[in-house]
């Protein structure tokens, strides 16, 4: 790949992919940008003139904006906390030699293959249904009143559903990281007088630091955009309206494309700030 001809040939061959990807990204982004500066109401005749930054101002000053940011942060934070903590524990557990290891590992990864919509519906109808759900049976079996999950503990329910989906991802990445730990390091620590918990704290956890940052980075980007789980369960009510869901409501329920687009741009900026921030952390971690 060093001659002039081969380099230009390479560029030529890369071009279709690059153009496709750029188009895929740039066209919707540009359209969103254009819409965000318009008053555009499809049911009332569509384009009704340019309004400058009015949509942006309206979006952030609406009473629904800050609660939606808060809901997003709580869901992302809660899911990250659960998946990373349980992921580490599960990874350690799965790293132990045991009978049927391969089968167990596949089973653990299984939830990741279930589509978000399906898992949302399964949880809503099979587990969290106040009358027929498994959880309500469980509660009744010990004589307690069943929790009406999706309205009384709506936030927790969403966090649980999403965590269930993302736990396999975290476990998988952390498991591979644990497997790369040199066993002599653990033995050395054992000889040095470190009990089990100290070995975890001083050897295993620092070894996992990089993998944990990667899990957090990737999950955050995807979790900022969760939609299906909310759509099929609470429909954004009971305080579960995230930023993504708010944008959806503005565009499709209020039929205000301009306002929704402005929200979309905010979301893009927010996600990018976050990604940049995390990239730097990962970069720093990878340097070592």
């Amino acid at each position: 790949m060093s001659t002039k001809a081969s380099r230009s040939a390479a560029r030529l061959m890369l071009a279709p992919a690059v153009i496709l990807l750029l188009g895929w990204m740039l066209v919707p982004l540009t359209l969103t940008l254009i819409f965000s500066f318009q008053r555009y109401l499809p049911l009332r005749g569509g384009f009704q003139g340019w309004v400058g930054f009015e949509n942006y101002v309206r979006f952030v000053t609406s009473s629904a904006f800050w609660p939606s940011v808060q809901a997003t942060v709580i869901i992302v934070g809660g899911v990250l906390l659960i998946t990373v903590t349980l992921g580490i524990l599960l990874a350690i557990l799965l790293d132990q030699p045991m009978w049927g290891q391969g089968m167990v590992r596949i089973l653990v990864i299984a939830p990741f293959f279930v589509m978000p919509t399906v898992s949302g519906l399964v949880w809503k109808n099979m587990f969290m249904d106040p009358n027929n759900g498994l959880l309500s049976h469980l509660w009744r079996s010990v004589g307690a009143d069943p929790i009406i999950w999706l309205s009384d503990a709506s936030m927790l329910s969403i966090i649980l559903i999403v965590s269930w989906q993302w736990l396999p991802f975290a476990t998988l990445i952390l498991l591979t990281a644990i497997q790369s730990l040199d066993s002599e390091q653990l033995e050395a620590a054992e000889m040095d007088g470190a009990p089990m918990l100290s070995r975890f704290w001083h050897i295993i956890l620092p070894h996992l630091a990089r993998a944990i940052t990667i899990v957090i980075l990737i999950q955050t980007i995807f979790l900022l955009a969760i939609f299906a789980e909310i759509f099929v369960t609470t429909q954004g009510s009971f305080g579960t309206r995230t930023l993504t869901y708010l944008i959806f409501q503005r565009v499709l329920e209020s039929q205000n494309v301009g306002l929704g687009s402005a929200g979309g741009i905010y979301a893009v900026i927010l996600a990018n700030i976050f990604a940049l921030f995390l990239m730097r952390i990962v970069g720093k971690n990878l340097d070592r």
Partner: protein
């Protein structure tokens, strides 16, 4: 305070017996080397002493205290691993201080001991670096430092030099020997390299398939190998082992003669042959002599000045008093 006694120690993994019943006493302050070909159980034996593996049966007494059932950290031993097993996310200082921190020593005492170990090992300038920024030899020294600060009853080394290049290995060999002379602590050192064993040990334990073939000082093993295995394993280049008629002349099944105990001459001698490959080391020259009618190629050491060419006809004379005789079972005939 570092006597280690093994009594009827065995180890098996499932069906496979790695260490058949074995007795061994390592005296306080002794530098003992376990040597043997790979897979002979020498590392397993070390790990049994360390407590990283459980014995299947038998007793290990460290300092007179039955230790087979107490956890590794409580045995008062420190181990240096083949891969050094440094903690990559900690600075050199923290690595060395780790066992002290785990023991709950106060900061001032930790610092004092780390500084002391660092000055002994010439690591003072590197205390704030991470292991990843050090060379192989320096990492090795950090690993030793981490062992020293605990002031253990004995040091265990598991092939510590096998990841170093040849020049560094010679240097570290000297440093470890020097360290032993200074600390006078019991050290157990595992290696497959008989040169390391010969140069460093007070006592060599030759192992094969879990059995102890011979225990003794380097010169004892060199002069009086108990059997054919030890005879072939100790010494470099290897002892020439000759069977057949020539051996029968000495009333033995096999005789052994070391390359350095054969006289080489162009005029005449007991055996004759043609020179094959010759290795010139400067100080010495090793000739591999073929067609002697003795079976294998015979290796002979000569002075660096002696020069024969490939294919030259030469004569060999073994020094009779240096011939080792072995019976049909491979055991030494006294």
């Amino acid at each position: 305070m570092g006597q280690i006694v093994l009594q009827q120690v065995t180890k098996s993994f499932g069906e496979v017996t790695v260490i058949p019943p074995l007795d061994l006493t390592i005296e306080d302050g002794e530098f003992t080397v376990f040597v043997g070909p790979s897979g002979c159980g020498k590392s397993t034996l070390l790990r049994l002493i360390a407590g990283l593996e459980d014995v299947s049966s038998g007793e290990i007494r460290i300092d007179g205290k039955e230790s087979a059932s107490i956890p590794p950290a409580k045995r008062g031993l420190a181990m240096v691993f083949q891969s050094y097993a440094l903690y990559p996310h900690m600075s050199v200082r923290k690595n060395i201080a780790f066992p002290l921190r785990m023991a709950g020593l106060d900061r001032a005492e930790q610092d004092r001991r780390v500084e002391q170990a660092a000055s002994v090992l010439n690591l003072t300038d590197y205390l704030d670096r991470r292991p990843g920024q050090l060379s192989g030899g320096q990492r090795q020294r950090v690993a030793i430092g981490r062992a020293i600060v605990r002031e253990p009853a004995a040091f265990l080394f598991d092939e510590p030099l096998s990841n170093l290049d040849a020049a560094l290995r010679v240097g570290m060999r000297l440093e470890i020997s020097e360290l032993h002379n200074r600390l006078k602590t019991t050290m157990i050192y595992v290696t497959h390299d008989q040169v390391e064993a010969m140069t460093m040990a007070d006592k060599i334990v030759v192992l094969r398939a879990g059995f102890i073939e011979q225990v003794g000082s380097p010169l004892e093993l060199y002069k009086n190998p108990r059997n054919l295995f030890v005879a072939g394993f100790i010494g470099s280049p290897k002892m020439n082992l000759i069977e057949g008629a020539e051996a029968a002349k000495h009333n033995a099944t096999t005789i052994g003669i070391r390359p350095e105990h054969i006289h080489i001459s162009a005029e005449g001698g007991a055996w004759s042959g043609t020179v094959g490959v010759s290795e010139h080391l400067g100080s010495d020259t090793f000739f591999h002599v073929q067609d002697t009618g003795l079976g294998d190629t015979v290796t002979v050491r000569a002075d660096g000045e002696v020069s024969f060419r490939h294919g030259d006809r030469i004569f060999l004379t073994p020094r009779d008093e240096m011939i080792h005789r072995f019976d049909a079972q491979g055991l030494r005939i006294a």
